[in-house]
């Protein structure tokens, strides 16, 4: 069985599971969970087969994409076609989403055990998985957009899962509306792309919109501000990614999305859905990276890259020859890079001053997504995707660890009220520590180190500017700092649970979570440790696979001066961050109610960060207020301007209807009634002939006979 031919079944299983469990009664908890998990396991199996297929393909003909297109419907002469594809990018993402998804589904069985809407939860989760997997395999921007919107819908449903909490309902709306802004731009990009190239298929044997012909056409079209059409469309599509992946300035929904159940945060708002934006940028990378001929670019290389490899240019792999001949970087990629690094720094800063355990992780996600964008912008698809994959595992791990902590601390989320949990929850602590070190990028044994190192390396060799590199270092420092702060406050020091003002009584001590929650944590922790070794400079298998260039083990690369310097620098930064964090938060156990150490050092900056840079307030004052004013104006116009018109029409209509009614009642009804009455009387008369007297009947026949004969004879005489 060819795994590619049945690739469409990967999203089908969760979709069926969602459909069936939507019909299940609320009491059917076990079947719902079983269905969802079983479907996910089937999808995982198929994804692994697809990965094997992709690996074979990479061996036999590297850099090719397998596609299968089919017609969907016809408008006039044009067929709208959809399709699915399989390339290393898709294969790796499929396995990641299925694997992380499966673990989170299992974890949810424990986490949601006491929820009365358990069945609905699994229905939504399955629907989400189906949409996400569909997004990954689609070979058409249209199909991708459909799945993209479905993903947004399920995200809305799941953030607002506890919709009886006003904050959750508000967060769901915020997430939906904010991402819609990005999606609007995305849709515009799609429409533009379609009108310019006539196709939305990515790869279509040379006729797809990501292939040389279409891109060359787009590059030749110059639009108003001097941009090429390719750049403009890229930027519009990137705006969609900005919304979905929580990039500045549309990131504000993501921290609020933490109102959803923690497994949702782990699956959707950390590991998979938010990565969809990054995935989108990676998918349309050939379009993003395209540079017009007039600028001195190795055209062949671009053409080659866009025609064969969907993902990236070999020259941008994070190996040491990246900076050899400074190529011209497209405007779109510059925007991606700057947006990414700006987001990374800003979100990392905000994360320092947050006290909600999930919110910190949420800002950390925003920040890491920024890193991924920067990775794609500076180093190409492989760099960004490598960080995406490793991040998915350790961020899912961290979120589920946080969930375990919240579960163990009886729904407490404020890290200032925790402390000392490592004694109570040893497994959670260990796995959480692994996740934290992976995220911080502690050297050598943690995956985050290698993937972040690759990004920094690529940024270092980025031709347009070196500023992203230094900002990236600052981001890494901040990351290490806030993660250390969080771990110190949660797991070290004296237990403070129950000492908060809102707890009048001493609650029972925190407890370790059940096995169904802890085992997925351990599996994810193992992945957080091991995955890094797929992409070290010594053996860049991941990069080779994505770029279709192959790879080999060469320990010498590790000791190359440049690599060593880079690794040393990043290790140094991380160690500095960890030490600082420990200095402020781990050395002495903080006391409840005492202000944060950073607040004492610099109150202004701290409160700026604590309030998320006042961005929500700015949006409130500008966008929301402006919108409200506009709405009020419209309402005024509606009531007074249109309202009076409508009223005038209403009275005119009423008058007419009244006349009509008169006609109807007296003329039409009267006549009809008269007619019906006449019919009834006729009926009475005719049935009076039916008097039951046979003599009369027989006379009747006789009369009828005579009459009929006369009529006939009279007629034939004519």
């Amino acid at each position: 069985m060819n795994a590619f031919a049945i690739l469409w079944m990967v999203p089908l299983f969760p979709l069926l599971a969602a459909g069936v469990s939507a019909l299940l009664p609320r009491k059917a908890r076990k079947p719902a969970a079983g269905l969802a998990i079983g479907a996910m396991a089937c999808s995982l199996t198929l994804s692994l087969m697809a990965l094997a297929n992709a690996l074979n393909q990479a061996q036999s003909s590297p850099g090719t994409v397998q596609t299968w297109n089919f017609p969907w419907f016809q408008i006039g002469e044009t067929w709208v076609r959809l399709g699915w594809l399989l390339d290393p990018l898709t294969a790796l993402m499929l396995v990641m989403v299925c694997f992380v998804g499966l673990l989170i589904f299992i974890y949810s069985v424990g986490y949601m055990a006491h929820d009365s809407n358990f069945t609905r939860f699994f229905c939504f989760l399955s629907l989400f998985a189906a949409a996400m997997l569909g997004l990954l395999i689609s070979n058409s921007l249209l199909l991708l957009f459909i799945c993209w919107e479905l993903v947004g819908l399920t995200s809305y449903l799941l953030i607002g899962f506890w919709f009886h909490k006003p904050s959750a309902a508000a967060a769901a709306k915020k997430a939906f509306i904010t991402t819609r802004i990005g999606d609007m731009a995305f849709l515009l990009g799609i429409v533009w792309l379609y009108s310019a190239t006539g196709t939305l298929l990515f790869y279509d044997h040379g006729a797809g919109c990501l292939e040389a012909g279409a891109i060359g056409e787009l590059l030749r079209t110059v639009t108003h501000p001097g941009m090429t059409a390719a750049t403009a469309i890229s930027l519009l599509i990137f705006l969609g990614a900005v919304g979905k992946s929580g990039q500045f300035p549309l990131h504000t929904w993501l921290p609020d999305a933490m109102e959803g159940p923690t497994p949702v945060s782990a699956l959707i708002h950390a590991a998979t859905m938010v990565a969809a934006g990054v995935f989108l940028v990676a998918r349309v990378y050939p379009l993003m990276a395209a540079v017009p001929d007039s600028q001195a670019v190795p055209v062949q290389e671009v053409m080659h890259a866009s025609a064969t490899a969907p993902a990236g240019e070999a020259a941008h792999a994070p190996s040491h020859h990246a900076a050899a001949n400074a190529p011209v970087v497209s405007t779109a990629l510059k925007v991606v890079t700057w947006t990414g690094i700006l987001t990374a720094i800003m979100a990392a800063g905000i994360a320092i001053a947050q006290n909600d355990i999930k919110r910190i992780l949420a800002y950390s996600t925003v920040s890491q997504l920024g890193f991924m964008m920067m990775g794609i912008g500076t180093g190409g698809v492989a760099v960004g995707m490598f960080h995406l994959i490793t991040h998915a595992f350790f961020k899912a791990l961290l979120f589920m660890g946080a969930g375990s902590v919240i579960h163990g601390c009886h729904e407490e989320q404020d890290i200032r009220l925790m402390g000392g949990l490592r004694k109570f929850m040893p497994v959670t602590f260990l796995t959480y520590a692994i996740g934290m070190m992976a995220l911080s990028g502690v050297p050598l044994f943690f995956s985050g180190f290698w993937s972040k190192d690759a990004i920094l390396h690529a940024a270092h060799g980025w031709a347009p500017s070196t500023a992203p590199f230094y900002l990236g270092l600052l981001g890494a420092l901040l990351t290490a700092f806030y993660m250390t702060r969080q771990v110190c406050l949660v797991f070290f020091g004296a237990p403070r649970l129950g000492t908060g003002a809102q707890h009048g009584h001493t609650p029972e001590p925190p407890h370790e979570s059940p096995a169904v929650m802890v085992v997925p944590l351990m599996l994810l922790a193992a992945c957080a440790l091991l995955l890094g070794f797929l992409g070290t400079p010594a053996w860049p298998w991941f990069q080779g696979f994505i770029n279709g260039s192959g790879s080999h083990l060469d320990m010498g690369e590790l000791w190359a001066a440049e690599n060593l310097r880079m690794m040393g620098l990043s290790a140094l930064v991380v160690l500095l961050g960890v030490t600082l964090g420990w200095w402020y938060y781990g050395r002495t156990s903080p006391v409840v109610g005492e202000p944060d150490p950073l607040l004492r050092i610099s109150p202004d900056i701290y409160s700026l960060l604590e309030n998320k840079g006042y961005l929500d307030q700015v949006y409130e004052a500008t966008v929301v207020r402006g919108h409200a004013a506009w709405a009020a104006g419209c309402a005024w116009a509606d009531i007074w301007l249109w309202g009076s018109l409508v009223d005038a029409t209403r009275y005119a209509t009423l008058g007419l209807s009244w006349c009509n009614r008169l006609i109807d009642e007296f003329l039409v009804n009267g006549l009809f009634d008269r007619f019906s009455e006449g019919l009834r009387i006729c009926g009475g008369t005719t049935s009076r002939w039916q008097n039951g007297r046979i003599q009369f009947y027989l006379r009747f026949i006789g009369a009828g006979f005579v009459l009929l004969t006369l009529v006939l004879i009279w007629r034939s005489r004519e």
Binding site: G684, T686, I701, L712
Partner: protein, 488 residues
């Protein structure tokens, strides 16, 4: 001519006659000691078996044969009509256990089977003498069936009325036949048609009116319909059901054959004498039937007037020049007989528990027997011609065929318009029954439950009505290909 052919052609009729004797024998020999209900059941099973065998023999027949100069005809259309007579006959057997027979079940079924034999012979001949004899065989049997409840004065009265009325009509028919024989010197339809040509002899007019008066009695067309409400109301229910379904199919078919083949209609000349006559019959049947039905309170009488009205619609099929209306007429006949027998079946069930058939006996039916109520709804709405039920398509097909066969003929057009208008009126009285069934609460004490077995039979009929309406092409195809292969 080969006597073996003769025997093979008559096999269905022979089977029926033998079954009739067998029923008598079984009842007399084996069942005499049992309770009446069981005797009825046993006899009805034997008769069912016989009918089924007969249907099988009919279906086994193939090709067209024309024996003894048209004394005996066996062609696909005739076979189809025979099946359409035998199937209502079978359902009549099924209905009989519920129709309050007190005695002589063996004789009842024997006579029923003989009546069916008469009807089968009636449709398979072009010879006036055979037609008259088989018509009389069937009629005599039906008179007895109508009067079978000898303990019920109303039943006897109904039988007597039917007999007197029928006797007079038969006299008319025979007189008409003998006049035709006198005018043409033949009793076979085709030579008669040849000899008559376009004659306008007043004697022929009298003959035509007399012949049509006889058949008008059988099909209950105005002004020869007066027996129908009384007989439908008071005869044992199964007899009434058979008179309304099987007998009607055969009479219509033979009427069409006599007027189209025998009285010069084959030439398709509009204005043949009988056309005017039939048009008058059709129009007055539609109008009078529907109007009189409006004021009825007895559901059986209501069905009787509805039958009169339907006879009017079906006459349009006979009027269509040539044989263009024939497939549509056959379709309508089959559909009508299924629907009528189904409606009578529901009436039987309701009557069995309420003791009468007035409208209030039906109130609240949908609450204590929703399936029966559903079946009744299907039958009545089909009679009213509501899509997607069979009755709708039957009307549509009939009117369309008539209009297509005679484009621009004002007579047919005005009849079709009249038919459509009067069937709009008919909806009123059908809905009155359904209003009792679905809207009115149960009157008085909770009535006894309705037995399941008959309901299953009715449900099958209702499904058939729905299917024939939704997928009419099955039957249309069968009817059209049968007609194409027949000499009619």
């Amino acid at each position: 001519m080969n006597y073996l052919d003769f025997f093979a052609t008559l096999l269905p009729e022979t089977t029926l006659v033998l079954t009739a004797l067998a029923v008598l024998l079984v009842d007399a020999a084996g069942l005499r000691e049992l309770k009446t209900a069981h005797r009825i059941l046993g006899a009805s099973l034997v008769s069912l078996l016989g009918c089924a065998l007969s249907v099988a023999f009919v279906c086994m027949g193939h090709g067209s044969s024309y024996l003894l100069d048209g004394i005996l005809i066996n062609d696909p259309l005739t076979r189809l009509i025979k099946v359409a007579i035998l199937i209502p006959g079978m359902f009549t057997c099924l209905l009989t256990p519920g129709s309050r027979l007190r005695a002589h079940p063996g004789e009842y079924f024997c006579i029923l089977l003989l009546a069916m034999t008469g009807l089968l012979l009636l449709v398979s001949s072009e010879n006036l003498l055979v037609i008259f004899l088989s018509l009389e065989l069937a009629s005599m049997c039906l008179y007895i069936l109508a009067a079978f409840n000898t303990t019920d004065a109303r039943s006897i009265e109904a039988g007597l009325k039917y007999f007197l009325f029928g006797g007079i009509s038969a006299a008319f028919t025979l007189f008409g036949f003998s006049l035709i024989y006198g005018l043409t010197g033949s009793i076979d339809l085709r030579p008669i048609a040849g000899a008559l040509g376009q004659s306008t002899d007043p004697l022929l007019m009298v003959a035509v009116v007399m012949v049509i008066a006889g058949f008008g009695f059988k099909i209950a067309a105005v002004p020869f319909h007066l027996w129908a409400p009384d007989v439908y109301e008071a005869a044992p229910l199964s007899s009434a059901a058979f008179i309304a379904s099987g007998s009607k199919v055969a009479s219509f078919y033979v009427l069409a054959r006599v007027v189209i083949t025998g009285l010069g209609g084959t030439t398709g000349v509009p204005g043949s004498q009988w056309m005017t006559l039939l048009a008058i019959l059709a129009g007055s049947s539609m109008v009078l039937g529907n109007l009189a039905a409006l004021t009825q309170t007895s559901v059986r009488r209501l069905l009787a007037f509805s039958a009169v009205a339907n006879a009017g619609y079906m006459l349009i099929g006979v009027l269509a020049p040539g044989s263009g209306g024939l497939p549509a007429l056959a379709y309508y006949l089959i559909l009508y007989s299924i629907t009528a027998i189904g409606a009578f079946g529901v009436v039987a069930l309701v009557e069995a528990r309420a003791g009468h058939d007035r409208l209030d006996a039906f109130s609240g039916l949908c609450r204590n027997s929703p399936v029966t109520a559903f079946c009744l709804m299907v039958f009545l709405l089909s009679l009213a011609g509501i899509p997607p039920l069979g009755g709708f398509f039957a009307k549509f097909y009939l009117f369309a065929a008539a209009l297509r066969a005679s484009p621009g003929d004002p007579l047919i057009l005005s009849l079709v318009v009249l038919a459509i208008a009067s069937s709009a009126v008919s909806l009123y009285y059908y809905l009155r029954v359904l209003k009792e069934v679905y809207v009115r609460p149960v009157a008085g004490a909770e009535p006894a439950p309705i037995p399941d077995l008959p309901v299953i039979g009715l449900f099958i009929l209702a499904i058939a009505v729905i299917l024939l309406g939704s997928f009419p092409q099955w039957l249309v195809h069968a009817v059209e290909s049968a007609q194409a292969a027949s000499s009619f």
